[in-house]
Point group: D3
Chain length 248, copies 6
């Protein structure tokens, strides 16, 4: 089985971290291929960057489809709250998993109420929106942010882990969560720290999505094409895929 | 990996059918053991029978725990809408999967709106309640019943399949479902018939639960003991497990 | 008029307390008969015990029905959040009242937002579930627990009353409740203490259920048999009623 | 016990019918006094008339309070969906029951889903609003209208009953109701006809409100004055009660 | 364009303040006429006074209609949470705007979550009800009160502004609001103070309603008469309009 | 006042139609400038095209901002259900209006329940999602599609109008709508036809958005920058704006 993991931002460091997380979660016989868009933003901290990243991952897939090189059995979109999953579901016949929804599904299987702990406060709203649209808001106790940005996390990873654990503790104590979803991709060691310190399960979205992708492929199930995820009409587009026409 | 599948009713025929469905869905290295309670009802068509079945499966697990013979890595409760999952989650440290919730989770991963098609109309309410409590009602387009009882299904399986497919078609056409969950356990061939006739994915709850159980075990995740699923206090009980005290 | 009050646990002390509360609330011409199951748990502090208690009260009623001794005009299930009401509604033609739902109905008639104050924190979730399924969650401001278990309540009743009053005060001050429902059965003096200290009405579930039972009998209304509470099909059961087959 | 029943319209015929319905439902020892406003509309078929009727019943009560003649133990506002209950709850220390909410509470006690059947289609919206604000919408299957106005009901009562029964049948068959609430006051014989023809319980709001009023008085419970139903500040008003200043 | 602004209370001071607020918001070519009822209460701090005010503004409009002097292009009901808008919509063919709903609509256009800050705590419930019925509750973060009554606001306006700003700050900090709606009419300078101190937009309901009224008139749109706002049947009424029959 | 209207697709015909609709709705003193992206799709009939269009309109605005040529007082995004409004709100200090939300706001001001009638069935889901996220779903009676695509509408506009009117009639009759929102941009004559044939107000999103934009500018209100619409951090991006780097 081959899973294509799409990092929606253009940070090679992040791509490597996501790739490592996916490999750690995958079964031995599963092949993981992690890629990033050829244009976009090094981090996704706004709606504008989220849309740009959606087009970026669409561009990756469209380019592979056009070249006849797409050969994954499932796709994981490794953006926590970022846009684009539904577009990929339209474009592809294989299952597409989003790490925010995947984490929430897994959390509901092992607890009564889950909280999401993310980095920046401005990521709270898009995560809430993602869960609401996915029909996964009813058991969400809260979406919380520890307030650290990408630069700060990179500068002092241990302090970042501590900040996320502290916020997770508030989710458990104040909001009644009994499971924590890690609301960002690629941070090693956080889920283990949460479980060790707080005694609650912690779900990493990349791991959850890889696990669910393997499950769907194992059950021979994929996206329904009888509804909104059917391929769209063949409308004329200009400059598509965009990366074909960009000056290098 | 070893999965204990609990048929909540006392029908050996149904136990065999569920066992076959679980084996068909399981990975080669997964061992499936399917059992049924030592008391209860041959079919579960009422709230009274649902509670009786919950105590029946609790009794199976309590007996194994008391005897030191419980050795499963995950448990699947193979009743679609029946009670008992939360009790098993309290009693055990391994993941417990319910086939109604499992089917709904899988359906949401591959479509926008799912419908459940069950046999008797009186099963609609408990399934709706199960989905509501599990936080999975938002994307449920409808719960429908084809109106056939266990006896009729047994007497003419082909007619039963046709009736379920016909009801599934109404779910797609009238309610906007793009995925169908089969709302009962152990009917061979129905999901294939739905997909073939209607072109929509159909999810069997036993298969979904086995797949999700394997996923959770693979990710090393289990029920949170930090909340409502913590083991209860050691209250004095009489006649427990009940099967120990029953005249044979 | 004769009301059968079912204590779902096996504590004779609790049965006596519930009986006293029911008699205090009943009209002079109403006869109260309070009974407990012949098997189960002395207190109900888990989902497992809740299911066991549901089968216990079903067993009481089934035994009376089989013996032709059931002669109540209404039944009160005196478990706050415990399972079983719907099963009794299926089995009987007379009205069945649950003390959690009854308290909530009465609270809504006399206030805008009610809170439930119970003993153990692990009872919060089943009470929330009961209210949600009963369609009574919209005006529930909160379900709170004072943190004392049965043993502590028995050891120092006055301290328990003080703890519940203190939690009720938080419900009024922090959550905006203007009515308090007492979320457990059989504690004398608590409702009076709440009203005296906080100036808000306090509703005891046993009293509410007895009052509503008398109301329904007076209006000649009983459970609809046209829907989900119709008697179930005559499925074969083993060892039913269970108490018949238990070694004494 | 003395219950003051307030017909919100100015039709003496309707007042007599409501009075008869209240007396039929009341316990022998309960005294029923039914009155109507001294100004307003002979029927209430608009929001404007509903507000006018609210002020009309407030005027009745204010006049009694000013004269020192108010001596009821409970008040029933006999308008199905009409405004004014909260104002009366502010003005009075005794329980105030609204017939729409009362019918819905009673319906939920005896079934899973109720429908309301009223006369004119333009009454549907205010009834839906009333149930939503009262937190009683979750188990409401539908609010339906048979389309007959007051004049038509008066001209051919038997045809009106038949039309309401026919609409109730649609509520049961199409909407899944297992209890019907009669969405207007004062029509004799309708609930019996519904139950006889359809086999479902039918709840008359006046009877339900009288029963619940007796229940609250019996339990010594009344409106909470700790929240929104506290008496308002003593603002200066002109011409109040209005009836004092109206030319006769 | 001519807009009739209805102050629902009988305070001439408040009428003047509302008139000033409306004029400040209106386009140069818009004529503002602000009036108050001929009976009612000088302030509206209860459900009873809210119903009385609804009949008061209905009386103003009915009197103008009867006299043939009604000539407004739109009507603004300047009560924040008060009743009566739907009645005016029935009575009139021109658009009718309510200042609570108008503020909420405008707030949603410029932010993600809005809070309402009003004066007395007892106004919170009717404002919540108004927003719920109007379908505008989903993005309401909170309704808060600063606790000052009309007299206190009049006695020390600067202190009142400070108290409202302080409460608005809690809405932003604790509830996550990014827009504040001023939950009362006629206080000059509050919106500017909120925006200056907190850096969030503040919406005055009178201004919002005037703006939306101008927008609807400009688009040639008015209340739908195809549904619940159709004129009611011609029921006989006594003493209507009430002001005609009141002794002066 | 100057309003920048953004057609999210690349059809010059559609841009002209939207421009005409905006001009027809605008006040005489308002200047309308309508533009389209420099890349994307001629019609937007999928999630993929919706994301592409969001980046397209972002690109237009970013290019103007970079060149210092952005000088609008408000922006209208003329895609009914398309993505991008929140990104524009982040990027700009002036108000940004979406035609789907604008139509829904205006519809709620003039009726009780609105329906949206769009062209293709596959547009239903994104419109439902847009309304849900905007907190405008509670009063939406239905979103319906007449089934005609862009080509068919262009080939026979009169037939398209008739098909939309027929679908609007079903919304009124079957779903209880009393206002219709036209769920696509740029079709002349449809709203007039709906109102003429069905007697209900019909709201065109472009007109509504222009009206609301003028209202906000008139009230000197704009997007709150205190919450999620604050400008994002200055993350490094490649190839942005994309149109700068595209081969022509």
């Amino acid at each position: 089985m081959r899973i294509l993991v799409l990092n929606p931002n253009t940070s090679a460091t992040m791509t490597a971290e996501i790739d490592a997380a996916a490999r750690a979660a995958a079964a031995p016989e599963t092949e993981i291929v992690t890629v990033q868009p050829s244009f976009g933003s090094v981090a996704i901290d706004s709606a504008a960057e989220s849309y740009l990243s959606a087009v970026g991952v669409m561009d990756v897939v469209a380019t592979q489809l056009a070249a006849g090189t797409f050969d994954a059995d499932a796709v994981v979109l490794a953006g926590f709250g970022e846009h684009g999953k539904d577009a990929l579901q339209e474009m592809l016949d294989v299952p597409v998993l989003d790490i925010a929804e995947s984490a929430a599904h897994v959390a509901q299987l092992i607890g009564r109420r889950f909280s999401v702990v993310t980095t920046l406060a401005r990521s709270i709203a898009p995560i809430e929106d993602r869960l609401l649209l996915a029909g996964l808001a009813a058991h969400c106790a809260s979406v919380r942010a520890c307030g650290l940005g990408t630069a700060e996390v990179d500068a002092d990873p241990a302090a970042a882990v501590a900040a996320i654990v502290a916020e997770a503790e508030r989710a458990v104590t104040l909001d009644g969560a009994d499971v924590i979803c890690l609301g960002c991709a690629g941070m090693a060691g956080v889920t283990a720290a949460i479980t060790e310190k707080l005694g609650v399960p912690a779900v990493d979205g990349v791991a959850a999505a890889v696990g669910l992708a393997q499950m769907l492929v194992g059950l021979n199930l994929s996206t329904s094409k009888a509804g909104v995820y059917a391929a769209g009409p063949d409308n004329a587009r200009t400059h598509w895929p965009l990366s074909q026409g960009l000056h290098t």
